[in-house]
Each structure stands twice: as C-alpha cells, then as structure tokens.
C-alpha cells in the first residue's frame, strides 16, 4: 500500500472510530462505550476532526488519480475496509472495557447492547442458537 493509500485508510479508520463512539454515546448504547457517555460525546467528534486535520495539514492532498491519488473504486474499497476495521476494533475494545456488563437480553439488535457488551451478548446468542439446534436435532433423531 502506498503512503497516500495508507494515509487515506488511517483517516477513514480514525474518523469512523470517532463517529462510532459519538453515535453509540448519543444512542445511549452503554455496552459499546469506551469512555463515560458525556466524554464520549466530545471525544468522538474530536477524534474525527483531528483525523481530518492530520490528513489535510500533513501534506497537499489535491492529487489526481493519474498520479498518486485514489480513483473512485479504490476510495470506496478503502473506505469500506477502514469502517470495517474501526467497527471491529470498537466492538472488541468496548467488550474488553465493559466485560462485567452482561445485561438481560430482552431485546434484539442494537437495543440489546444498552446494558451489555458486544462479545458476551453475541456469545450468549450463539449459545442459544447452538442449544436450539441440538434440541431440534435430538427431537428429529428420536422421533
């Protein structure tokens, strides 16, 4: 990966990380927060702004894709990769820092993460699916 591509990838990853932190704090998804909620509401956008400031102030960025710049397809692919990495890192780090948050899984989707961390919620869901599948298999084989 060239320097420009790496810089773009880092911009997207860091900026996405900040936006995710803000969005989770705004939506009161406590299980996904890395910092106290009020701090996250400030730190998230600050990280995003800092990422843009670093990207644009470090070196001139108006470069055509015929030189060192990125074409549309590369931009889209690196954007998706950057967001994916930021999301994955966020889910893992927030699960580690909120490991004791188990919660009661009364809701599905993101609502389940209001008081529970991602990894333990996902593991519990996988366990439920596994037990349900085993039960169904046993019923079929005995019937």
């Amino acid at each position: 990966m060239t320097d420009f591509r790496l810089d773009y990838f880092l911009l997207v990853s860091a900026a996405s990380f900040g936006i995710l932190q803000w969005a989770f704090a705004y939506n009161r998804l406590e299980g996904l927060l890395l910092l106290p909620r009020r701090l996250s509401l400030l730190a998230g956008p600050a990280l995003t702004v800092a990422a843009f400031a670093w990207f644009f102030l470090s070196t001139p960025r108006n470069v055509p894709d015929t030189a060192a710049g990125l074409d549309g397809n590369e931009q889209a692919a690196l954007f998706a990769a950057g967001v994916g990495i930021a999301l994955l890192a966020h889910l893992l780090l927030s699960s580690l820092s909120n490991w004791s948050m188990v919660g009661r899984q009364e809701h599905g989707g993101l609502e389940a993460l209001r008081g529970a961390n991602y990894v333990r919620t996902a593991m519990r869901r996988l366990g439920e699916l596994w037990r349900s599948w085993q039960r169904q298999t046993n019923e079929r084989s005995s019937g």
Binding site: L11, I19, A23, F56, G69, Q75, F79, A122
Partner: protein
C-alpha cells in the same frame, strides 16, 4: 441554447473571478473541493445515521435511507460513466482564462460526477429523513460550488450532475421497493448480529 451557454460561462467567470484574491478563501475552497473531504464526511454521516435513532422504528427508517443512498450513488456513478462514453465537454480551464486552484482532471466536464454522487446520497437520505437529507444536500451544494470556484466545472456541469444524482436516488427508492424482501432480509441479518 446560446444564451444559456453564455450565462453558464458568465456565472463561472464571476465565481472564479474571486479566486486568487483572498488566500484563506482559496485554501478553504481547495480543501472543500478535495476528493477526500466531503465524500469521506458524507460516508461518515451515513455511518452515523445507521447507528442513531431514538427508537428501533426510527433507526430502521434511517437504515433504509442508507440503503437508498448507497444504491443511488452506485447508479449515479454508472450513469455518469456511461454518459462519458458518448458525451465529452472540455474542462473550463481548457477553453477559458481562469484562475485554476485544483489539479487538471482529464475526463469530461459534463455531467459532474462528484455532484451526481453527493446529491444521490443527499436525495436518498432525504426520502426517508428530511432533516438529515437537507443537511447532506447543503454539504453537497457547498462541495459543488467549490468545484466551480476552483475552476474545474461549469455551473451547468454540477447542475446536470445534481439532477442525475436526484433522479437515480428516486429510481433506487423504487427499485428497493420492488426488491423489498432483500432490504428486510439484510436488516434482519444485521439485527441478528446486533449491528442494526
């Protein structure tokens, strides 16, 4: 037609006439016109839309707007790509005496691909979420204006691009309605892994 072309040229010359007077305004326009500021910011806005919403119903509405925006921008890029095969308009800096504040793109000036993409995103979101869609359209308008200011597009190029963007977003909304089991299935999968 001649009158419209003259008006288009005059509007460009007037707007680009401000370039080179105030270094801070030039630097601001160059940054806003960059390939990396507004497109990335709009992508991040879509990411924020996906994860916010007061209620699950509200969140689903926003997530569906993200689907429409993504389908719209894909379609808009394709339409511009196809049009560029049959239509070529030289860039304004090639035919007029302008203050160029940007690199020299070599593709067709009309229709403006950046305007098509940002307005496809804005219109796609606006169909389901008026407030966020309006904010995105304002950012898109600033982006398009900055591209004219730095001398790489005529005003009619960005208007044409914006029209294509809005049209493809409307078409995408219809297509997604026809494909309805698909968006619902994607949302169910995302909900099952706690990401929607």
């Amino acid at each position: 037609m001649e009158i419209l072309a003259k008006a288009d040229e005059r509007a460009l010359l007037w707007l680009n006439g401000w370039a080179g007077r105030w270094p801070w305004l030039d630097a601001l326009a160059q940054t806003v016109a960059s390939d990396y500021l507004v497109p990335v910011a709009m992508g991040l806005m879509l990411l924020a839309l996906w994860f916010t919403g007061g209620t699950p119903w509200d969140r689903e509405r926003r997530q569906r707007s993200v689907f429409t925006a993504l389908a719209g921008l894909t379609m808009a890029s394709w339409v511009v790509l196809e049009l560029n095969k049959v239509l070529f308009r030289p860039r304004p800096f090639q035919t007029l005496d302008l203050t160029l504040l940007f690199y020299r793109p070599v593709d067709s000036s009309f229709p403006a691909n950046p305007a098509a993409v940002v307005f496809a995103i804005a219109a796609g979101v606006w169909l389901k979420d008026r407030r966020s869609g309006t904010a995105l359209a304002a950012v898109g308008a600033l982006y398009s204006l900055s591209r004219v200011y730095v001398g790489v597009f005529y005003p009619s190029d960005v208007l044409g691009g914006a029209a294509i963007g809005v049209a493809t977003a409307l078409l995408s909304a219809l297509v997604l309605r026809w494909l309805e089991p698909l968006p619902r299935l994607l949302l169910r999968v995302a909900r099952a892994i706690f990401l929607a």
